[in-house]
Each structure stands twice: as C-alpha cells, then as structure tokens.
C-alpha cells in the first residue's frame, strides 16, 4: 500500500480534460485575429485601449474580491481577461483612458461581482460596461476614429460615423439609400475591416475566423451565431425588398456594426445564454428581432448591445420553459 491513504469518492472516477479555464483561454485565443486587425487599423491606440481595459478589469476583480468581498480571488480563471477584451472591443479606439476604467469598474463590479461572481451574473458584464459608457458619455462613445487616419495620434483623432450611423443619419435627413450608399464603405472593406467603428468590430472575417475556432473547440455551438445572423438577415431582407430606397441591404446589416462580434462572442457568453439548444435558438431569434427593430426604427444606429442585454434578462425564463425533452416522456406507442 502506498504511503498516502487511498481515496474514496463517488463515481465517475475519470473526468474529461476540459476545464472552465481552458474554455476561457480558448475564447481569448479566438479573439486574437480580430485584435490584430484592429491594431493594424487603429495602430497603437487599439493596443492602449485593450490593455487598459484588461488591466483595469483584472485589477478591479482582484481588489473587490480581496478587500471588499473577502472571498477567494479568481483572477486567474480568465473570465476577467475576457471581460476586459470584450469591453475594449466595444469601445472606440480613441476613448479617454479614465472612461475605460469606469467602464471596467461597472463591468466587473456591478455586472459581475455584485451578482456573486462568475456564473451568477445575469447580464454580460462587458456589455453592461459598454452600455453604461454609451449612456453616460454619448459623444465620446460615438465619435469613431477613421481607419488608418489617426494611427499615431490619439488626442486629435479624425472621427467619422460608422456605416450604420451614416445610414441612420442619411435616412433621417430624408436621403435615399442610393444616395447614402455612396458614402458607406464597400462590403469588401467591411469584411476585411477598413471601416470605422468600435475597436473589435472592424473585420468581419477575423471575427468569423475566431468564431469558427470556438465552434471547432466546442466552446460554443452554432445555434446562437447562425440563428442570430439569419434572423437579422431575413428581417432586414424583408424590409429591403419592400423598399430598397429606405432600408439598407441585408448584407450591410450583417457586416456593419457589431452583428458579427455580438453573434459570435457576446451573445454566446456561456453564463448569460440559455442552457439548451432549443433555448439558444429562441434567445438568438429574440436578439435578432430586437437588434433589427432598434437599427431600423430606434434612435440609436446600432442596437445589438441592447438587444443582447434585454434577452439576457429573459434567459432564466427561457431555461424554465424550454427544457430538454425527457427520455421516455409522452411517446407514441411504436410496438408493432
């Protein structure tokens, strides 16, 4: 017999090698291509915003857990890191540093730790931080630096509106889509990221790449991203077919703004999305509809952050009503 006493525990005695930590770092890896694109596009400022967000998120988590809540510090599990990156991805690259820090405090302190930490938060922390900033500092949060223009200077940024912003503004001025479309970047540019917008939503291609990696690693399933994007596409297509002069083409709606980032990285957040596949589909359809409604009829040009947060609130209900089918429940007699 070995020196240590033998262990007795209940079955199962083997465990898969997946851990929450690994899942979290997979998400981080998946976000790298999009990050590289934004560094390429916005230069050093993207790097600054992202590092500030990451560092302040981790720091706030550490300080709050250690001194305020006096619980175990969980900064190594990678969830604060992800919150930091995702928050940065949702900010313009020229945002003042102090605002980023406030955003991080709201994301970690209010949206995550006050609910009980990882696993207990109802709303996606990064999005709460982002929406808080958007409502508190609307001017700074909606002046987007233009790609390649202000690579070096953070202060005197040349700013421009996002594609969705241009459309919204143009429509409000009574212009038609044909007139507006001359001013918005081409779909190819949107795909590769040469447009203006928040830090992480630049290149649809890089984001899809990251999303596919997550699906490959089985961190997320296809249900939320595909359903969400399909819902946005179908809804906007209906409006576009009905009146192409007043509604933008569905492809623009897919590629512009945060649709892709939201679909692959924000809505799929494990904690704040439903448990079952059925629930995930309902959840994604809900987000899609709300996003399109805000984009087409709301005051804001972009609505996916709000849409995800609203649907986050419905997740407990979705979990309650869309349960997996129990084995052997209500079956038709198949005995021949």
């Amino acid at each position: 017999m070995s020196a240590q006493p033998i262990i007795v525990s209940a079955s199962p005695h083997v465990h898969s090698d997946r851990t929450s930590k690994k899942l979290m770092y997979d998400v981080v890896i998946a976000l790298i291509p999009a990050f590289l694109v934004s560094v390429y596009v916005f230069g050093i400022s993207a790097l600054i915003v992202t590092s500030v967000a990451i560092i302040s998120c981790i720091l706030f988590e550490y300080v709050i857990q250690k001194y305020l809540l006096k619980t175990d510090v969980t900064i190594t599990d990678g969830s604060a890191l992800i919150t930091g990156i995702l928050l940065a991805f949702n900010l313009p690259s020229n945002l003042p540093i102090w605002m980023i820090i406030i955003g991080s405090l709201v994301a970690i302190g209010v949206a995550k730790l006050s609910f009980g930490g990882l696993g207990f938060n109802i709303f996606n922390p990064a999005l709460v931080g982002r929406v808080f900033l958007l409502i508190s500092f609307p001017v700074q949060m909606t002046s987007w630096p233009t790609a390649f223009v202000n690579n070096t200077s953070v202060v005197d940024a040349v700013t421009g509106a996002t594609s969705l912003g241009i459309i919204k503004e143009g429509l409000n001025m009574g212009e038609t889509m044909t007139e507006i479309s001359a001013r918005i970047p081409s779909s190819t540019n949107m795909l590769f990221g040469f447009t203006s917008g928040s830090l992480g939503e630049m290149s649809a291609l890089a984001l899809i790449l990251g999303g596919l990696y997550l699906m490959l690693r089985k961190v997320i399933s296809w249900h939320i991203p595909v359903t969400l994007l399909a819902t946005i596409f179908i809804m906007t297509a209906i409006f576009w077919v009905a009146n192409p002069e007043h509604y933008a083409n569905p492809l623009i709606h897919l590629l512009a703004g945060g649709a892709i980032l939201g679909a692959f990285f924000m809505a799929t957040d494990l904690v704040t999305s439903p448990m079952t596949k059925k629930g995930m589909v309902i959840f994604a359809i809900g987000i899609g509809i709300i996003t399109v409604v805000i984009r087409l009829f709301g005051a804001y040009p972009e609505g996916i952050s709000f849409a995800i947060l609203i649907m986050n609130a419905f997740v407990p209900l979705i979990n309650k009503f869309f349960k997996p089918r129990r084995f052997g429940a209500k079956i038709k007699s198949k005995i021949v």
Binding site: Q4, P5, I6, I7, V8, S9, A10
Partner: protein
C-alpha cells in the same frame, strides 16, 4: 396654472377614494376568521421557528395547539415547561411536563485517537459521504466530521473543533430542538436530560464492533467489556451489541463507571474535579463545551 393644481388635486383625491373603497371591499370579502387564541399562544412561544416541535414554525405550532383537543403529546422543547405551562393556562388544556434535555455528542473519536485510513473526496457533507461509504476512519459508527449538525443548528450552539474534527455542543445555547439529531446520518447526537448544573454521564461511543476491531479503529471506543455494568449500583448500564448504554433516568450520577472504563469512553460533564492528580492540562478545553475526562 390654477387649473392644473385643481386637476391634480381632484385626480389624486379620487384615486385615493377608489383605492380606499377597493381595499375596504376586498378586506371584507376575503376576511378569514382566525381564532384570537392562536395569536395569543404564538406570542408566548419563543419565535425560534426551529421546528423542534414537529411543526414548520411557531405560528403553525400555535395553530396546532389551539386546534388539537389533546395536546399532552405536543411540546415546545425550546420554551420547555415554562412556556407549556403558560400555554396550558391560556387554552385550559393539560400539557405534559418534560425534563429539560440537551444534546450530547456520543463520539469522542477525534483525529488523534481515531486515525484516518482513507481520504474522502467529494462534497463535504455527512449526508453524502455517509451514502458512499463508512467514512474516512475504520469506525463505521462514529462521527463523519463534515458538520451537518453544525450547519442545521439555528442557535449557534454548535461548532466544529479544529483540533479534533468533531462538533462541540455549547450546552448553554442548546435548546434541544433536535435539528442536529435529525441531520446526523450516524445518530451520534442524543438528547439527554439536563440534570442539575448540567451534570451528565454517558457513553461516548456507538461502536458495535467486537472489542479488538473497535479498539483498533479508535482508542476511546467502547469495547463492550461490561465493567461499567458490573460496578453500577443502580443497574443503569445496559449492554447490547458490544456496547454499553447508560439509562439517563436510572443513573444517579455516582461516577463509578467512569473510573472503571478501560478505554475512557464514558464521558462525565461539569463535575468538579474529584481527585487532584497531577495531570497535564489538556490543550484548552472549552469551558462551555463537554469537559473531556482528564484523569487517565
């Protein structure tokens, strides 16, 4: 300007009126008669809501007391005879009189005397580890040490001793509600009468194994040698399944059995020290807790 003031006053006043009428109608329509005695009895009960009486709370117990004809088998362990007498006075029914009891721990198998032979991994609750196997030590009757009893105690009358790994009952705070007795999967905790000055003598072991096996598993196990039974002048010791049990009613607290026990498995509490023997003071025995016998 004055118009808007007028309108808001009228609007608020009429809203208030409507609400008042609604409230009145609803309170009349859904009025439930409640025996005023229930409130009166509830007032006397200790409001501990511990469930020791078998009802889900003091209010429910009050209802039961009022609505039951014969309440002689109902008893509030927390309030004791005092409270039950008052209840009897209000309701004009007969109540039982019971000796005050207190919880005692019938296991002394701390880490130092009962070696761990296996390591348990899993949720640290007695209920679950008891389901899986007989525990980390070789004694399948003793304390599992995961503190389910401490978790259920609503009166902060229990804590886990860090050195021994056993729960400790703070007798003064114990209301004998019985929650710990219920929670313990091993039935180690027993309610015993609280004699004068809380003097108690009981066997601190439940091991039914044969002497050799029991002793091997735990130094302070009762080995069923019957010495206590032989010496007891009042026939208060019962022997069954290699285990002694001291009947609390028959026992006259003479302490003879304590001395003869070869494994020190009989516990006496709160007695003044008998013989002044030079004994190293045992590492800080909590005054409130059970005084483990020191004259080895």
């Amino acid at each position: 300007m004055s118009d808007s003031v007028l309108y808001s006053v009228i609007l608020l006043a009429s809203l208030g009126m409507v609400a008042a009428v609604l409230l009145y109608v609803v309170s009349k329509k859904f009025y439930v008669f409640e025996n005023p005695l229930i409130a009166e009895v509830d007032e006397i009960l200790p409001s501990a809501n511990c469930g020791g009486c078998g009802s889900p709370g003091c209010k429910a117990f009050a209802e039961r007391l009022v609505n039951t004809e014969d309440i002689s088998d109902l008893f509030c362990p927390v309030g004791g005879n005092e409270v039950m007498k008052q209840v009897a006075a209000i309701l004009g029914k007969k109540v039982a009189e019971k000796d005050a009891t207190v919880a005692v721990l019938r296991c002394q198998g701390g880490c130092d005397v009962r070696p761990k032979t296996t390591e348990y991994q899993g949720p640290r609750t007695c209920a679950i580890s008891a389901m899986i196997y007989s525990g980390e030590t070789d004694c399948q009757y003793g304390c599992l040490g995961d503190g389910d009893c401490v978790k259920v105690c609503k009166f902060d009358a229990m804590y886990m001793d860090e050195h021994t790994g056993l729960p400790v009952i703070i007798t003064d705070k114990c209301t004998s509600c019985g929650a710990c007795v219920e929670a313990c999967p091993r039935d180690i905790i027993e309610m015993r009468p609280k004699h004068k000055r809380d003097l108690k003598i009981f066997v601190g072991c439940l091991n039914e194994d044969k002497a050799g096996i029991a002793k091997k598993a735990c130094d302070v196990a009762c080995i069923g040698c019957s010495k206590c039974q032989e010496i007891c002048p009042k026939d208060a010791v019962l022997m069954a399944n290699n285990l002694a049990y001291i009947d609390p009613i028959m026992c006259t607290l003479c302490r003879k059995c304590v001395e003869v026990c070869p494994t020190n498995s009989i516990i006496e509490t709160n007695f003044p020290p008998k013989k002044v023997k030079k004994v190293e003071p045992e590492a800080e025995v909590n005054v409130e807790s059970i005084n483990l016998k020191t004259d080895a």
